[in-house]
Amino acid sequence: MTPANNEIKRHDPSDIRIHWFNAACWLVLLVSGLGLIKNDKLNPLGAWLPDVLRALFGGGSAGGAVLLVLHEVVGVVWLVGIVIYMGVNAGGTRFFLREIFSLRPGDFTWMVRKMLRMTVGGGGELPPQGYYNMGQKAFAQASVLGGIAIGATGMILLASDKILPASVVWLVGWAVTLHYLAVGLVFAGLLVHIYMAAISPEEKPGFRSMFTGTVPRDYARHHHGLWVDALDKGEPGAK
């Protein structure tokens, strides 16, 4: 599909598929994961949450065991899905990683002013942004680095009662701690991500683009001016 004249391609169909696949996996893994933590010192919202979730799957520790299997299966499916995406759209993966880890002068100012503007108001002029703005980059960095940490520690936890010997239980203990930390921090960012992407009215065209793949040129110029400049200079866009 060639975008209409005033539409610019922003996401490849494979990007759209991996984004929603990732979001769906996150939802299932987050909920089932919350049901797996049952410890008075750790329960993020109290014991009622794991109790309710376990009740849905048979109750008590048996319900927890069902959640564990679900969490393990979806966790592996998630990792495999992401690896397949990286193979299917290697160019897109490289573009994404290069974009999210390249910081430009003005990004810090943008971040501070944008946060002021969105909450208390004011904040001043926003420096122009590239394919992703600094907020998107910060969240994307968190989800990539967090995702690597979550995936790696998840594999250790999966292996724990299958192949790991007693001599490395210290590693399993630290994997639990890091898994919790990484999920918690990415989730903190996710709240803002979902607000900005799906609820904030000014980003509506961006939300639509996660289904259609394209954004209006207007919108792109206002929100991602440096990206449009680069496209106009003939540089390749998103793959």
């Binding site: 049952k38 065991a65 108001g121 122009p128 918690g184 921090l185």
Partner: protein, 260 residues
Amino acid sequence: MNAKLAMVIDSAKCIDCKACVAACKQANGVSRGVWRNWIKEAVPPVENGKLGRGHFQPGACMHCDEPSCVIACPTGATFKDKADGSVVIDPKLCIGCGNCIPSCPYGARFRDPVRRIADKCTYCPERRAAGLPPACVDTCPTKARVFGDISDPNSDAAKLLAANQGKVVRVIAKQNDTKPNMYYIASTAPDGWAVKPVNPLSFDALSQVVAPLVKYAVGLSGLGVLAMLGRQLLVGQKPDVGTPHEGPEKDKKEDGHDAR
């Protein structure tokens, strides 16, 4: 009323035959190299230059009322069964993280080398379901071990406790009374072998640093979202508010390119 399963032991009767250790291993198919119960031996006293009588002390998981192992388990795979008071491990929910092993001050837990998860005395649930006492109790030739529901005054264990009121001792962890449900009649030895429950550093880091940190991070981010939502609803936002303004020249250039 809920049951409270317990073991009442007259360690003076123990002859160190280790039948209980063997019977447990056989009844529960305990893996090679590990044991769910034990007999400890007090160093015999030297009396008038001669070796006195030793004292043997049968033991196993004490199914404590305030179990430190439960506190260390992240998933709740180890829990206190409300119906019978025993401390249970659900093997399907245990991920083999090993936290509970050093957190038991009595050394009652180990990581099963074959199943790679925590294991310990279960009070033989299959035998109990069939109306039999745990294997160690059943096999004991001197009846040093007595098992039962001590909340039921008619049980053998409760009767034995009542008959020895005021003369019952327990082995208790250092600096932490976990309220064990293993009672020794009159006196027992050795004593003082229970250690202090310790959690792995990774668990203390998780419960004392990481969990509160995550709570603050999520709370802060949630407050930020509420602030943005509040502003959106109260002040309102036209789709163009908040777009970058890059100075007049740039705007002109943009207009030239725009297909508005």
